[in-house]
């Protein structure tokens, strides 16, 4: 029993099976030295006795300023307040005009981990970004709010309740270009801007081939509803005016689905929970003929036959009188 407990303690202390929160490699190596902070390059001293440093390093005296090093070489300086980066030119000993930083710069509220805390992953497939700091949203490089980012995704999206129609142009480049140019500039088609999602494909594009679109037109132009129903197709370009006419009529066709029916009467709606279905009472055996089994159409025909006989008899009457 004592041997067992001793073995268990030895196993735990060895750490062979316990993974630290830093990942499979365990805690950072001992002896890692923080980078030397120098912002006057002439005074920069490279410490070759340690692993080289690449990354952001905060200025020891000036809050909000960070230097970027690559393999211990000063690359530039970033100011969080002005959100600006300047490159350092070691040859001319000058700073550049504001430019893009070489790596994701620190946010004002993003904590900068010291080099000793940056434990690299086991494998890197090209990811130079590390998590940390506040949530940020950008549209084409411009910082926006979360709401604005959502609006950017929702805009021109084919959501469930959107009424946008799809215009798909398929054909050789030159044939497609005339259609796209017309959609962008023709006065007859300007009223439809914002109502259409336009895309243009070569005839051999996978999205066209895989979906059995007709693709031998010059060009083929489809107008589809959001669900894919074809509202209009033409296999040559007939000009902006004709296409505007097709768009107008396809709009009526789409909107017809949602037009109110003026003859609708809500009092005639069935309520299947309230309807009382009379029980089926079997008729006693030996009863006479069941007239209710005769279809309604048969009664109509019978009625017409009686009427015809009556008319024929009437015609026969006057002839006898004339004679």
């Amino acid at each position: 029993m004592r041997c067992f407990i001793a073995a268990l303690i030895a196993l735990t202390l060895s750490g062979a099976y316990v993974r630290s929160q830093w990942g499979p490699r365990g805690c950072p190596p001992q002896g890692a030295v923080a980078p030397v902070l120098h912002y006057q390059p002439v005074q920069y001293v490279q410490q070759s006795s340690r692993q080289t440093f690449t990354g952001w390093s905060p200025h020891p005296d000036k809050a909000g300023q960070y230097a970027y090093y690559e393999a211990d070489r000063l690359i530039g300086l970033y100011c969080t307040e002005r959100e600006t980066f300047w490159r350092w030119d070691s040859r001319s000993q000058t700073w550049s005009e504001p430019c893009n930083p070489p790596a994701s710069p620190p946010c004002p509220h993003r904590p900068i981990e010291s080099f000793t805390a940056q434990v690299p992953p086991d494998k890197d497939f090209g990811m130079g970004w590390r998590a940390g700091g506040e949530e940020c949203y950008y549209v084409n490089g411009r910082k926006v709010s979360r709401r604005q980012a959502i609006e950017a995704i929702e805009a021109e999206s084919l959501t469930d309740d959107s009424n946008l129609r799809r215009v798909t142009v398929i054909g050789p480049d030159a044939d497609r270009k005339q259609v796209i140019d017309a959609l962008n500039t023709a006065p007859e088609l300007q009223p439809f801007k914002g109502q259409l999602v336009v895309q243009s494909y070569a005839p051999d594009h996978w999205a066209i081939v895989d979906s059995n679109f007709k693709r031998d037109g010059k060009p083929t132009v489809y107008i589809q509803s959001r669900t894919g129903k074809v509202l209009h197709r033409q296999d040559e370009w007939r000009g902006a005016a004709k296409f505007a006419e097709a768009l107008k009529r396809s709009d009526e066709s789409v909107n017809a689905v949602r037009k109110a029916d003026p003859t609708y009467d809500s009092s005639k709606d069935p309520d299947l929970n309230k309807q009382v279905i009379p029980p089926i009472v079997p008729k006693p055996d030996g009863g006479g003929f069941d007239w209710s089994k005769i279809p309604g159409g048969t009664w109509v025909m019978l009625g017409l036959a009686v009427a015809l006989v009556f008319v024929l008899l009437q015609k026969g009457g006057p002839v006898h009188a004339a004679r």
């Binding site: 070489p102 970004w129 998590a131 589809q224």
Partner: protein
């Protein structure tokens, strides 16, 4: 004594590693384990394998964005992965923005509109993106299906589907129409980046639905 030896042997074989929870994630095709169809069904012919830049560092960021460009028909960025092989690898938000500007300028086309999100754990915005047919490119720290031997990785992958029950991952180190990783949203948040992800969403619309009468 034999009993204690057996007990010791038991402790030797059971790893005391609780950094990974049991995973229900599965590898499969364009349909979730419960039959839900994937939101963005990029055909296998358009799947790409990650490559290295001029310095050998990976181009997972640009490969993921290339996937999105192929799905959403953004000619400016189709071929982004191959374009970046002539430059050093590695990607981060500013570098991505810089090279989007560069490639569009060289190709003489306007820049596409795109959203970047950093340090977020907000799945709602990803649900909106894939529901409206956008392919999301997102950071990835661990595979829940056992790829990479459970190691921690620095990677960016594509996410063609996010809803209340499922998230699908297309890993550009494991491309193929039958190699999606399907997992629950909670599991996805654990593996994309526990501290918050970086995601990129191109805003161009998805391909048209198949025509019907």
């Amino acid at each position: 004594m034999r009993y204690y030896a057996a007990l010791l042997l038991f402790f030797l074989t059971v790893p005391l590693d609780y950094s990974q929870t049991p995973s229900g994630a599965k590898v499969g095709g364009n349909v979730a384990p419960d039959g839900t169809e994937i939101h963005c069904d990029l055909p296998g012919s358009q799947h790409l394998q990650n490559k290295g830049g001029s310095d050998g560092a990976g181009l997972c960021v640009f490969t993921s964005v290339d996937h999105a460009a192929r799905w959403q028909n953004v000619p400016a960025l189709i071929g982004f992965r191959d374009y970046m092989t002539r430059y050093p690898g590695g990607g981060w938000p500013e570098k991505l923005a810089k090279y989007i500007t560069k490639i569009c300028k060289e190709r003489g086309v306007p820049e596409p509109r795109y959203v970047q999100i950093e340090n977020s754990r907000d799945l709602d915005i990803l649900r909106l993106a894939t529901k409206t047919g956008r392919f999301v490119s997102i950071t990835y720290e661990r595979s829940p299906t056992g790829r990479y031997n459970g190691q921690r990785i620095a990677h960016m992958v594509s996410v063609p589907h996010v809803d209340d029950k499922w998230v699908a991952v297309l890993d550009n180190n494991y491309p193929g129409p039958d190699r999606y990783e399907w997992m629950t949203p909670d599991e996805f948040l654990r593996v994309c980046n526990p501290k918050g992800f970086w995601a990129v969403v191109l805003l161009d619309n998805p391909p048209p639905p198949p025509p019907r009468n």
